[in-house]
Every structure is written in structure tokens, then in C-alpha cells.
Symmetry: C2
């Protein structure tokens, strides 16, 4: 067996379990006797460009295990999306250090980076195996049953809505929370897992997969509020009307306010509480409901320390190790995928290798079977899909029962 | 012993452990052989007014234990602040049902309600013992070392900032999170407990106990960002300038935007993401930093299911039981207080009875000893004060170490 030198990097938004994949890969690599070194690149592809590497070949395993249990990319991440020129520079560094295998933990942009890099390597005749290890809380990677990182973020969203619903039941009114998801509604849909009993919230769930106009939204809220005296609503940041105009743009225009745009000219959906605030203003103004509160889950759903699905942690560890074995044993190039074995009862996950092209720069959205006909909720099929992924430690809530005491005076209004 | 009939209610904002106090009181009452009944009033004083009671005298203990472990007022809560007329009506209901003891779990407004009710009872010659059981995540009750509910909310804030800081280290920029606290900065200050190592965030903490102007804020952020390449900031929703004008009003005026006011004409600080958004806009516009993100913890810090300090849960249980014993054994009226026994090493809490007037409608703010001289951080004394309250299960984070690999090419910029 010829000596191997592995380089691992982490790209895109951090997750609660992305370091499980890092440590899974490092430890799996260390089991190969022909391993010369395993390096980590600081801040993703940027670290490759700048030769900013740390040597993890002999790093203490206890330290690595504690890193694995810590959320957010331990190597640092980047939002850089390398083009061919960028990849060519990376390749120079990879050659200079004698790297034989490159592993990139990230989303669909990261898999596209591996794809471009592999093309450049092939063209220049440098022998390099490139593996993409999936992660993203958006759950929007093609060819995966789900992606590592999503279940833990989904668990956060479910626990947040379970708590918010109990609060809303104690002090009734309308509560609207905006959850991440520009194109894919999986994370917002996870709010459905907060429900334990009849009439538990969220009572309405709006996803970017279905067009939404504000009048329809208000009619839905009004109906629930009239029925229950309260209403809890989950809204994806990316909800838009039939012509694709984001709801936040429509609402801002009505109110004469501007919206923020990012460097690419896209409306900035994250990092601002504007959508939740605008929806609350509409509900107050047009439905005449007084107690209306809005939240935007923002970075909490991405980074909260201490909310991890054990199933997610295990699978994130696995995909790192699987990638290394595919690379070092089989010289494979491609993207590791998480699949569900539906031939056996219960929940069993398995791993596969798919071509980089199957994942790169593509976006999976929610299946039709996961969204109800009215477009304001998920289906039982979605709940069945997500429940096993949340793992073993989902807190349960109990509503107080108790026999009503007979009144002795007339009710006073 | 004459027969007793206990009525318990929950008022104000729910907490993670307010049901521990409810169940603590119910179970303690059931140990008294002369107990005739223990009732819960639905939605606080409003349930008393409307005779909306549930009988908890024989309720299954296993059910009650699961309710105790569930956040948010299980009996329902209210924002009603009864005046004398309201209390007089409550008293009629209390008389009609032969209630001998009234326990109200709540903040300083709730203790004021008990005070007024007791005055009315004394005036009308009805024998009634009234106990106030403390709870509030703001930690702003006089005569208490801390209040039940605060440690769990503080734990949420610490875990949120620990995660946000790891995220910020992975993708550097400026992160600003707005935390609850109109007058008292305790909950915002709890962000300091997120720090585990040197240069961990939050790097700046702004509290309503100290005046803040925007130029000073920007200069602080600039200095941290220049030193570390990143900056994590905790801001109380109630921060204001030397003349008491809330920062949110100043910023909104600058930008030509309005602020929302509640029914009492107070600027609405909660339930809106405006302050975080405005601060981020200022940082981008005036410091020229590109990656700036803001969050508002909103209802998550008040209601998240699954973030409880075990010390808090135990003490919340205790204050409920202590109130019942004070009421039933000693016929006491007053407010139960949580104290810290500073005569022994380690952390030991104890309980005392204080007059309702000592707590009612008063607000405790952070001691000077807890705030640094520059007014942009807490002191080690505050960290020492809070650490034991967070309990045993505070997740730890581990930053990746690893020997840097020598560069083989010149760093490319």
C-alpha cells in the first residue's frame, strides 16, 4: 500500500455535529498503517489556499472526542465558493504537500468545490481522491434521506415550539416564529414535532415549497384564533407569493420600509427579525388581536450549545469514517449519502456513495407527500419521517388535568 | 387543627420551573391531615375572579411530577394587575368557597396583589393567610439572593452565547444578541457564563444599569474586532442613554423609523427584533464590517423546552413547599425569599419569610460590584455568584488544538 496523506476541511454553515464527522474521519484514517499524515485546513478552502494546516495525525484522542461533542466547525469555516482559478491554486498547495486525499465536509456548494477540484486534478495529471461528506441543517442535499446536522437543528426547533406553545397556552395570543429555510422547508416543518396532544401548536406551518399570500395567512390565523383563543405559527424565512416575491418584500413595501440585500443582490432573510415583526404588525392591524408576539430563531437554531440528537451525532461520525474508508480502501471519489433502509422495520440508516454531480449545486426541497393539501401544515408522513431522527432524549411536556370545581357564585365578567 | 382549604395561582410570565413550585405546594399541602382541599385557579387572579378552579386534592402524583418537569404555568397565567375593586371581587369568591389560604406564584406585581388582597381581607374581617411564592426570570425581586426561574433562563442564555461564540469563531464577524431585561441586567449578564477560555465571547456586555450611547458602543465593537477579527456582543433590551431614552428609540429616530409602544405607552422592547437589527445596521454602516448578524432571544429564553438548571428546579420546588408550611403551620402571611448561606463553604441556599411590602412593586437591579468599571462587562464576582445556580449539566465546549504544519509555498493572498 502506498503512503497516503489526507487533508480535511469544513465548509459552509457550522452544525451541532459537524465535528463528529471531522473526528470520525481523523480516527478512521489513523487506523490505516500506510497513513503518513492527516491534516486539517483552517477555514475551509481558504485554509487550503493559504496553506493554513494543522496536523491531527497524533492529536490526543480524548481531546478529539471532546471536540467531536462540541458544535460549530472546529477547523473554522468559510463562505468562499471557489471557481476554477481558485481550485487551481488549491491544487498547487495540495501538490506541494503531497496530499493524496481531500475530504470536504459541507453542503451542496462544498460538493461542487470538490467536483471542480477533481476536474482540475485530472486535467493536470495529479492523482487525487476527493470525497464530499454531507452536512447541512437545511436538509437540502439530493440523494440523501436526510443530512447530518439537520436532525439536531430540527430537535432545537421542535423543543423551541413545544416551549413556545406551552407559553402561548398559559398567556393566550398569537405567536409567530420565523425559522431558517430559503428554498427548503424541512427545518420549519420540524416544528410539527413539538405537538404531543390535540390542539397543541404549532397550528399553522408555512413552507417555501408553497406560495403564500398575506390574506390567506391572515384568514388562517383568524380561524385558529377564533377556535382556540390562541394560535402558534411557524413560518419559513423564504416564504413567497406565486410570482416568487418574498413575503418580506411585499410586507416591507406596504409599510414603506426597505429590505436588506446581500452581496449577491438576494433579499437578506437571515440575521434580521424583520419578517416576524412585519407579520405581527399585520396581525395586530388587520385582525385586531392585541397579544401578538414574534420571534426569529436566527443563529440559535444553528449553534445552540447542548441540543444534539444522538442519532444525528452517530450518523455524522459514521459519514466521516465511511468517507475515509471509501477513499483509502477503494480510491473512491464522490459524495457520501445517508440513506434509510426501508426493507427492515424500525429505523436503520445506511451509507452510499453517489457521484459529485448528483449533489453539487443542486437543492432538494420537501416532497409533496410531506405537505398538506391546504399548504399550511405538514402531513403525518413527514412526522413519521422525522421522528426517529430526533433521537432518544426529546423532552416531554405534560399538561395539567384536574377536575373542575363547581362554581358557587355566578361567573363575574 | 381547623380544616384548611388552599387556593394556588400562577401570575406573570411563565418560567421553566414555575410548575415545580406549584407541585411543591400541592404535595406539601396534602401532607397536612386537616387539609380539606387544594384548588388551582386557572389563569391567575382572573381565575379567582371567575371561580375557574381545578381540584388538585386527589390528583395522581405521577401526573403532577410530570407537570412539575414541564415549563410554563400549567394553571395558565395572566397579566392582570388587580386594583382594590378587583381584589374585593376576588375576596367574595374566596369567601364563597371557604378558602383559608391563598398562594400566588409570581413576580413583584403578584406580591403586590397578595398585599392588596390581604388588606381587603383584614378590612372585611375574613381570616385569610396570603403567601407570595417568588418566580421571575428577570431576577429582580428585592430581598432574594436570586429568584426561581432565573437560573434556568440564565443557563439558556449561557448555552446560546457559548454556541454563538463557537459559530462566530468558525465564521468570523460581529454577532449581536439582544437579551431580556428592561431595568435589571441579570439575564443579559448571564451571557458571561458562556466563556470557558481566553478571548471567548461574549466580548462585550451592555446592561440597563449603565447608560450607553451608540458612539461608545461602536468604539468598543471596533476595538474588539480589530484585536480578534471578530466580536460577540450581549445587549439588554432596556439599554438607554444618560437621560433614560432607550437606545432603540434613538436608533429608530436616526433611521426615520417608528417604535412600537404598549398599552401603557412604554416603548415595546420585547417581541420585536428591531434593536438587534438597528445595532447591526449601525455597525455595518459606520464601522464598514461586512459580516454582522443579530439575534433577539425573545420567547426562546423564556420558554425553551429542555433547558433547566437542576439547582433551580430543586429550589423552585422548595419555595412552594416552604410557603405551604409557613401558611399551614404558622398562619404566616408574606413573601418567601431565597437566600444564600454565606457562612458555609460552597453553595447552600436557604429560605426566609419577608413582609409583602419588601417585595411588592419594587425592582432589584444589579449590584455595582457585579458590573465592571467601563460598564461593558460583568465582574468575576458576578460569575462567582451565578455559576453554582446553573446546576450540574452545563455543556462544555472544546476548541481544536493541533500543531501548525510548516508552509511549503509562499502564502498566497
Amino acid at each position: 500500500m502506498s503512503p497516503v496523506k489526507l487533508l480535511i476541511a469544513q465548509g459552509g454553515g457550522p452544525t451541532a455535529v459537524i465535528n463528529q464527522s471531522l473526528v470520525g474521519a481523523v480516527l478512521a484514517a489513523r487506523a490505516f498503517p500506510n497513513l503518513q499524515a492527516v491534516y486539517g485546513a483552517r477555514h475551509g478552502v481558504r485554509g487550503v489556499l493559504h496553506e493554513d494546516f494543522v496536523d491531527l495525525t497524533g492529536e490526543d484522542i480524548n481531546h478529539l472526542e471532546r471536540v467531536a461533542a462540541t458544535p460549530a466547525s472546529a477547523l473554522g469555516s468559510t463562505r468562499d465558493k471557489p471557481d476554477e482559478a481558485y481550485c487551481l491554486q488549491m491544487l498547487e498547495v495540495i501538490k506541494a504537500h503531497g496530499i493524496t486525499h481531500f475530504l470536504y465536509i459541507g453542503g451542496n456548494d462544498s460538493s461542487d468545490t470538490v467536483r471542480i477540484l477533481m476536474e482540475q486534478a485530472a486535467r493536470s495529471g495529479h492523482e487525487l481522491a476527493g470525497l464530499h461528506i454531507p452536512k447541512t441543517i437545511d436538509n437540502d442535499l439530493m440523494g440523501n434521506d436526510h443530512t447530518p446536522g439537520f436532525p439536531s437543528a430540527a430537535k432545537f426547533v421542535a423543543q423551541a415550539f413545544a416551549g413556545a406553545d406551552l407559553y402561548n397556552a398559559a398567556l393566550p395570543g398569537v405567536y409567530v416564529a420565523v425559522v431558517m429555510g430559503r428554498h427548503a422547508g424541512f427545518l420549519t416543518a420540524a416544528s410539527a414535532l413539538a405537538r404531543q396532544g390535540v390542539d397543541d401548536g404549532p397550528h399553522l406551518i408555512y413552507l417555501p415549497e408553497r406560495a403564500l399570500d398575506i390574506d390567506r395567512f391572515l384568514a388562517d390565523v383568524k380561524a385558529v384564533h377564533e377556535r382556540l383563543g390562541r394560535c402558534v405559527v411557524a413560518v419559513s424565512e423564504g416564504v413567497h407569493d406565486t410570482s416568487g416575491v418574498p413575503l418580506i418584500s411585499q410586507l416591507a413595501q406596504r409599510r414603506g420600509a426597505g429590505v436588506e440585500r446581500d452581496a449577491h443582490g438576494n433579499v437578506q432573510l437571515s440575521g434580521t427579525g424583520a419578517l416576524a415583526d412585519l407579520l405581527c404588525e399585520e396581525i395586530k392591524a388587520r385582525l385586531g388581536i392585541k397579544r401578538v408576539r414574534g420571534d426569529t430563531f436566527g443563529y440559535l437554531q444553528r449553534s445552540f450549545l447542548g441540543c444534539v440528537s444522538d442519532v444525528d451525532a452517530r450518523e455524522a461520525r459514521d459519514v466521516g469514517a465511511v468517507a475515509v474508508r471509501l477513499a483509502l480502501k477503494h480510491g473512491a471519489t464522490g459524495s457520501v449519502a445517508v440513506r434509510r433502509d426501508s426493507t427492515v422495520p424500525g429505523y436503520v440508516s445506511e451509507y452510499a456513495l453517489q457521484p459529485l454531480e448528483a449533489v453539487a449545486a443542486k437543492t432538494r426541497v420537501m416532497e409533496d407527500a410531506f405537505i398538506n393539501a391546504a399548504g399550511n401544515d405538514v402531513t403525518p408522513a413527514f412526522v413519521d419521517y422525522l421522528r426517529p431522527l430526533l433521537g432518544s432524549a426529546l423532552p416531554q411536556a405534560e399538561r395539567l388535568r384536574g377536575r373542575a370545581v363547581a362554581k358557587r357564585l355566578k361567573p363575574q365578567e
